[in-house]
């Protein structure tokens, strides 16, 4: 699948997967927990929607958990991410508080955006998450800007820019990659290629076979990996993050994955087959991660059940927190349009 990065020294000779060689047992268990949290956040969100507790729409990332978590493994809170409309997973991966996420989803003052933003705008700047985005491709130049800041200010921070396969056909994608390279900025472009932008397959919308092939046009490394394989994702993105940190400039990583649910709540799935969905469901990234941990004796099955139970409890508590939260005050609706209020 495409070009690959040079394999790092941390990979042991006896075929141990990258993640096992690179990360401690605690780090790996924490990663699995985040994957469960994402899955259960999405299920909780879907259930709340079905029960009429929230309005609007939502874009669920069930099936894409390895891509979100694997891509954030070597990031600290100083490092930035930009996210997308399908951003709940990125948010969790970057360490967000599930309660404040749910509160935002419920439109409450206690939510991350104080009820102003909703599902498509959840952000947590305190953890380096510059936000989901309602505009396809909107985050790409912003990520380049964050990388420019890091370089000029000498913070050493790296920005990981998440975007979908659909976004790679926006001008913003091409302009962003070009500038990132021209200015040699510490940014990693992570394309989550789930094969469709809404109903339109990459075959019908994109001139190249792999999105990573576009890296050639911007003279940066590009690699395509199995986005449902946590270790493969972490290996590719970690290497790109390291390059960025060393001042070697931007990279493009393409995580090939799949969204199990429809694009949003109005999707009738008329553009793909049941068989295709079932085939991808059989490649569940969470089951694969759990197997990785048991196979390498990182965690027992009981421990894994415990991690899952923990995630379930956290989500239940988050929903309770969100339900109890107060609505924003109507009198304050124009607050925060500007930093310093102006008379209008």
């Amino acid at each position: 699948m495409g070009r690959t990065f040079s394999v790092r020294d941390t990979v042991t000779p006896n075929n141990t997967p990258y993640a096992i060689a690179r990360y401690s047992a605690d780090e790996l268990k924490e990663a699995l927990k985040k994957m469960y949290l994402i899955r259960k956040f999405e299920e909780g969100a879907e259930d709340s929607y079905m029960r009429g507790l929230i309005h609007g729409t939502m874009h669920l990332s069930i099936g894409q958990e390895a891509s979100a978590v694997g891509s954030c493994m070597s990031l600290s809170d100083e490092d930035k991410i930009t996210s997308t409309h399908r951003g709940h997973g990125h948010c969790v991966a970057k360490g967000a508080d599930l309660s404040r996420m749910f509160a935002e989803f419920f439109g409450k003052e206690s939510g991350y955006c104080k009820g102003r933003g909703g599902s498509m705008h959840i952000a947590d700047p305190s953890k380096g998450n510059l936000g989901a985005n309602g505009i396809v491709g909107g985050g790409l130049p912003i990520a380049v800007g964050a990388a420019l800041s890091a370089k000029r200010l000498g913070t050493g921070a790296v920005t990981v820019c998440f975007f979908g396969d659909g976004a790679n056909n926006e001008g913003a994608f091409h302009e962003a990659l070009n500038m990132a390279k021209v200015w040699n900025l510490p940014v990693v472009f992570v394309c989550e290629n789930n094969k469709y932008g809404m109903s339109t397959s990459t075959e019908r919308s994109t001139a190249v076979k792999n999105i990573a092939d576009r890296a050639v046009a911007y003279a940066m490394p590009g690699v395509t990996v199995d986005g449902n394989d946590f270790s493969a994702v972490a290996e590719a993105v970690d290497a790109a993050v390291e390059r960025a940190r060393k001042g070697e400039g931007p990279s493009l990583v393409e995580n090939v994955t799949y969204r199990w649910r429809g694009h949003s709540k109005s999707d009738r799935n008329r553009y793909r087959t049941k068989e295709e969905i079932a085939e991808w469901q059989s490649r569940d990234p969470i089951a694969a991660m759990a197997k990785l941990l048991t196979d390498h004796k990182i965690a027992s099955e009981d421990e894994i059940a415990g991690i899952e139970a923990d995630a379930t409890r956290i989500i239940e508590e988050a929903i309770a927190f969100a339900t109890e939260g107060a609505n924003p005050k109507i009198e304050e609706v124009t607050r925060d349009v500007y930093t310093q209020e102006i008379a209008s």
Partner: protein
């Protein structure tokens, strides 16, 4: 919102689809372009199953490329096709603004009249769906500010069909702002081909005490308010502007001369918008002498559209806001 009759009814979305269907059947040059308008049927189901009838070559799913897509439509319109380009949400037209404002609007003029750009663009707009700040805007005043474009905002299913067919007959670029909340609204729609004239407002309800000039979904809120006002002895005239460029001066001014009071209500942010233009039109004309009270504009609050449903409602004019303004005006309180 409407009275039940034997007349054929369609939803606003169905009426638009019927217009596209009629146009495509009559004229091979008409093609549809947009994101997910094929098998998906459009984000709001407007194109529906037209792909089954006309195929992928005439119902074209574009990549997610608003600037490029709009520009392809402009180029095709200059050279023999009649594209109808759908922005999935009007908000995403901001990405295509270059081709709309610098190209489509000006090409004919810059070329000294040597070519026309008969492109039609559709913009699903407005709030009320819980989709927050980047999916709920009413930016029609942006394009209405640009000479070379024509800008319409149908409020009824019949006008949605008639204005689209008129737009296709027009040799110049026509921007159609469709309020998303109206897509499901039903109303009588005549069969077959007909056009609603671009540049003509419609008097939806006659009245003598005050004039309410409204656009899009606000037309229905104004009509609701007028019913209540009638029970209080206030006789409101409701005008559906329908086109905001070119604006129907005559209809608005005649009404103001008759009533002497004007409320202008629209969903877009209140300042620097349609209401300012309507007010200035009155202020600059003889109708000004007929005013018995200051003009009132009711528009969106000075903020993006928030997500929380209560906040979302609070930032755009609602029926009680229209009632309050009308009562104050009619009772000479301001």
């Amino acid at each position: 919102m409407h009275t039940k009759t034997d007349l054929r009814e369609l939803s606003y979305a169905e009426a638009i689809r019927e217009a596209m269907d009629i146009a495509m059947a009559q004229d091979e040059r008409v093609i549809l372009m947009g994101e997910d308008i094929g098998v998906y049927g459009g984000a709001f189901g407007v194109t529906g199953d037209l792909i089954e009838k006309y195929g992928m070559d005439r119902v074209m799913d574009t990549p997610i490329s608003e600037l490029g897509g709009a520009g392809v439509a402009v180029g095709a319109a200059m050279t023999g096709l009649r594209p109808i380009f759908e922005f999935q949400f009007s908000d995403f037209a901001t990405l295509g603004m270059e081709q709309i404002v610098n190209q489509a609007a000006k090409i004919r003029y810059m070329l000294g009249g040597a070519v026309s750009v008969p492109v039609v663009m559709r913009f699903p707009s407005g709030s009320g769906t819980g989709a927050a700040a980047q999916h709920s805007q009413s930016l029609e005043a942006w394009t209405a500010h640009v000479p070379g474009l024509k800008v319409v905002q149908p409020a009824t299913p019949a006008d949605a069909k008639g204005l689209l067919l008129a737009a296709l007959e027009d040799p110049d670029p026509v921007m159609i702002y469709e309020h998303k909340i109206l897509y499901k609204m039903k109303g009588h729609v005549p069969e077959g081909h007909y056009t609603t004239p671009i540049g003509k407002a419609a008097v939806m309800r006659e009245g003598k005490d005050l004039t309410i000039v409204a656009t899009a979904i606000m037309v229905h809120k104004a009509l609701d308010a007028a019913e209540t006002l009638a029970t209080e002895g206030i006789d409101a005239e409701v005008i559906d502007l329908r086109t905001i460029r070119p604006m129907d001066r005559d209809t608005v001014l005649a009404s103001v001369r008759k009533t002497g009071r004007l409320v202008c209500v629209y969903e877009a942010v209140k300042t620097l918008g349609v209401g300012a233009e309507v007010s200035a039109m009155v202020a600059e004309s003889d109708a000004f002498d007929y005013l018995d009270a200051p003009i009132i504009r009711l528009g969106g609050a000075e903020c993006p559209i928030p997500y929380n449903p209560e906040l979302e409602k609070a930032v755009v004019p609602q029926v009680p806001d229209i009632l309050e303004a009308a009562r104050n005006l009619a009772k000479g309180r301001i």
